[in-house]
């Protein structure tokens, strides 16, 4: 009986120690939002019924850049993931499909608002692009990507300070 009590006590102590330990590398230092847009000059209904209209300001912003100018934009998917201090993370904007994936990782703080990040774009399970873009809040990285159904995909990567609410709760 005594032995059983001792084992239980040790297990409880171990659990307490394990939960008390924190990994500073898992500190959330920002939130990365990845959105996949579909830009087309043709029939937007080709994208299918599971798309979403983009806000007017997004369409305006995209169409201001000549390389990204299309007559119609739709949102295909989005994901919002925490940016860890030392660990990489993956965004799956067309979850649960893995057709479009984005791997990201903090690299260095160039200034208070400017962060260099490792960003990798994976399409169809292949790494297509790797870059060390310097990201600033509210200034997205827009990647004009592959063709799809008569249009092109635009992958938007945006860094914001803070962390998702769900991370707080965790």
């Amino acid at each position: 009986m005594n032995r059983r009590r001792a084992i239980t006590l040790m297990a409880l102590l171990g659990t307490g120690v394990a939960t008390g330990q924190t990994d500073p590398g898992k500190d959330v230092i920002g939130t990365v939002t990845v959105v996949v847009y579909y830009g087309t000059n043709g029939d937007p209904s080709a994208a299918g019924p599971r798309t979403k209209a983009v806000p007017a300001e997004v369409a305006t912003r995209l169409s201001r850049e000549q390389k990204l100018r299309f007559s119609k934009y739709l949102e295909l998917g989005r994901d919002m993931m925490p940016l860890y201090r030392t660990y990489e993370n993956w965004a799956k904007p067309v979850h649960p499909s893995q057709e479009i994936l984005l791997r990201f990782e903090a690299q260095s703080h160039l200034s208070k608002d400017l962060m260099r990040m490792d960003v990798e774009l994976w399409l169809s399970q292949k790494k297509i692009l790797k870059t060390d873009a310097a990201m600033t809040p509210d200034k997205p990285l827009l990647v004009l990507g592959p063709e799809w159904r008569g249009g092109r995909l635009i992958i938007s990567v945006e860094l914001k300070p803070g962390k998702p609410k769900s991370q707080d709760e965790e």
Binding site: G48, E65, L68, L76, D113, R116, A134, K139, L141, V143
Partner: protein, 192 residues
Amino acid sequence: MPDEEMLALWVEDELTGESAATVNAWAVAQPEWLARREQARQIKGLLRAHLPAAEEPPYADFFNSRISREIGREAVSVEPATSVKVTASFWRFFLPATAVAGMALCFWAGTRVVPTPSSSPLPPVANAPAPMPVLYTPEQGVTAAFFNSSPAHAEVIVLDGVAAIPDSFEVPETASVEEPAPATAVIDPLPR
């Protein structure tokens, strides 16, 4: 015939008495062995002529006392350089203080050089053009071009040569969710 051990001792002139006489009697008819012994004798003679005589190993007491004596002698011979040593020890004391002062100076200089938002005449870094990123496209035939787009207020990478996403790809029902999403889309504006 004598055994090998006996012969080896005979060649080295280490045999005495009856055993030496026995082997000598046998070796008279063995010119090869006689030549070997002669060669060994010559080598011994050469070694004796060129190597100094062995010294007696010192006793422990003498050994320690000799070391003490040698240390004392060296200390006396170094005596004229006392002033240099004093200076060196002074610097040894002064160096850490100098290093600390240097670090403090560098830190102070750093705080003066890095512009603060309130006092710096320079524009905020966020408004400055971001450093040009490195682009790597591992897939053959794929190229990437980067530029800052002022009209779109965005950084833009244009990929060319990327294989098209198959038209068979359907957007999953769960892909595009309303913002903010219940679990992940609410941003805490004040990070803790």
